[in-house]
Assembly symmetry: C2
């Protein structure tokens, strides 16, 4: 037998994504990703929750699905049904909820259930990179709708729907993050939500509502979810605990009518999502969620202040942004001559990671001089220092700030 | 706006699996699935592990991947590298290991990386249903190789590889469960493993080794893994904690050379597997795995005795089986006139769930009068009662036992 290493390359099918790079550790000043404020992790209460739920019903771990069936741990779904009702106005039963391995698996399940190569979907022009990447990989035509300070523009959505209709195309869904939009942080007012539902209904297109950030509005006041405002069962709703508790706990959920839920479930071929995480979250959230989240919000708002001050201090008038009403990121516009994709590498070499705007928009020209800066995970000091470094690099690469 | 419920049906792409049924609770006598013995769950030690690991490093939950990167919690990979070396003879580095959301996700990742519609793979004729179903869904041609008491037959494998070669077909992999095969419980001797590696190398076909049951051999002695016997990097190895600790903890793993590992990782789009489960398992296993598993084995062996006695008592000479050397299931052959797929429904109506053989074999005629009976989860009393009921139903449907 030869000891020449076996070459898998000729066996790989066409269309695989590029190979992963080796992981080389975290960057010192990391302004990317959904990492959260580790000081605000409710550790003592999570430890107590793990202890109490495991002692009480830990032996159910010996059974796939914990005796709750394939939709996930029932007490967690009960918590969610109550929380979604009181916070978002959603009226759903526990069996309208499917627990997923983070909302990323939820995106994959919804896409797997509705999309085939060549289909068309509508999304916000500036949009979560993970959504854009998934749609590109699936070979789907993506129509991006520009946003204003109130989220997706309804005049543009109406025009796009009419344009598709004229071509005989029925979009598979309208994907939106209406509440603390990623990356613009906009919150869609209730009247615009109603208008979106009217347009969707008129064109027979369902809405795919991604609501991962809604717990993180500074005021604690959020508009009702699109799901809550529809009486037609045409909204598939996705949420997560990553932003409100901890991202490494991979627990998200889908709320959908049984007709489409029952078609998604066979695509979830993982034997259920992690049970320990579901049990601990249910135990924790039932007792502590409503007092934990306001404390987290205050901490995030304080970090946002630091981020905005730092950007003002180091970029001056060269950087513009709206003051977000919630969330974990700031969407910054730089002068036209700055290309944030070209800023990325030298910034990284200086220890600063950013999200270039072109990766968070389907309009590459629009995103070109923009960037997303996440502020939840770094300390106040790291925000100060990292933004200072970023401005230095930007100055040496683009002469900005002057 | 109409309140007619929205109909998603026209939006569904072709080829979706059938809709899931509503879950109606667990069956009283459940002889299916990988559920484990809840009395043997090491609950106190798991509680202690959760407490200690969370107090020590729980704040890392605020970061995707816990500062360990996308391949999973590093202390768990360190435990695995040491365990796989001492138990299975595998020599691998922590960066050759990818933690997955159960070994089911591992199957999906390997298949996603290697298979396209129309490809050909080789598997054991009688085989894990989840593997068969995945391959069918992917539109892959499956060549099933018959087994004997020592696992996959090498004369038949050799003939199949030659036959494919004559047709100009290079199989994408040979999938095997060589150690406590599912459903036959056979253990492939070391010399046959070497022969399989020679055949695979001669035909340029890699091996996909599924090793989920290897911890559960009564003697505690296992042959080296195929992965350990190859010096060519042509074996992709998959394992799991579902059978040795608890199935609701969704933690499995892949061991593979970086060349193919780096192509799998971008297909894992879930933001990492559940961190709490990885942390608790690493903490528990490092301290207790080696003393927990022998106690579990003894309990499973005792349940197997009960299962074999019950089948002998209630089916008599009508049921034949080999005494498994490990695992959690008994593969039973009934007389030719029994169709276990037709036994399934009336048995279920009587509160007894079985795995019909035709669902666990690519040779439907061979599987027709066979069934898989899992014995880890039901109590000894439930095994007695359930097998008695099953025999009653079988008698009234097929006149067997006489």
């Amino acid at each position: 037998m030869s000891s020449m290493p076996f070459d898998f390359t000729p066996l790989l099918p066409a269309g695989l994504p590029p190979a992963a790079p080796r992981w080389t550790g975290r960057v010192k000043f990391d302004f990317t990703g959904g990492n959260n404020d580790s000081d605000r992790l409710p550790l003592d209460d999570l430890v107590a929750a793990a202890d109490s739920v495991l002692r009480r019903e830990g032996r159910t771990l010996s059974t796939y699905g914990l005796n709750s069936g394939p939709q996930g741990y029932r007490p967690l779904r009960e918590f969610l049904a109550a929380k979604l009702n009181s916070d978002a106005g959603i009226n759903c039963a526990v069996d309208d909820i499917l627990i997923t391995s983070g909302s990323l698996q939820a995106l994959d399940l919804v896409n797997g259930t509705l999309l085939a190569r060549g289909d068309t979907v509508i999304i916000e022009q500036d949009c979560y990179q993970g959504t854009i990447n998934r749609l590109n990989r699936l070979g789907v035509t993506v129509v991006g709708i520009p946003l204003d300070g109130d989220g997706m523009r309804m005049d543009m959505l109406s025009g796009a729907l009419d344009g598709l209709k004229a071509k005989g195309v029925r979009a598979k869904y309208i994907y939106t993050i209406p509440t603390v939009q990623n990356p613009t942080s906009t919150i869609m007012p209730v009247e615009r939500r109603r208008e979106m539902l009217r347009l969707a209904a008129a064109h027979g297109v369902p809405i795919f509502e991604d609501d991962c950030y809604a717990d993180l509005i500074w005021s604690g006041q959020r508009p009702p979810a699109l799901h809550a405002l529809s009486d037609r069962g045409d909204v598939i709703y996705v949420g997560s605990f990553s932003k409100s508790i901890a991202p490494a706990l991979r627990v998200g959920y889908i709320v959908a009518p049984w007709g489409v839920m029952s078609r998604m479930m066979p695509l979830k071929t993982d034997g259920g999502s992690g049970a320990l995480e579901q049990m601990v979250l249910a135990e924790f959230c039932t007792r502590h969620f409503s007092k934990h989240v306001p404390a987290l919000r205050r901490a995030l708002r304080a970090k946002l202040e630091t981020m905005m001050e730092s950007v003002k201090e180091h970029f001056g008038a060269a950087a513009t942004f709206d003051d977000p009403k919630g969330g974990i990121f700031l969407w910054v516009t730089l002068p036209e001559n700055v290309d944030t994709q070209k800023l990325y590498q030298p910034a990284l070499a200086a220890g600063v990671a950013i999200n270039p705007g072109a990766e968070w928009s389907v309009n590459k020209a629009y995103g070109r001089n923009r960037m997303r800066l996440c502020f939840a995970s770094p300390t106040h000091e790291e925000i100060h220092q990292g933004v200072a470094k970023l401005a230095e690099v930007c100055r040496s690469e683009f002469g900005v700030p002057a």
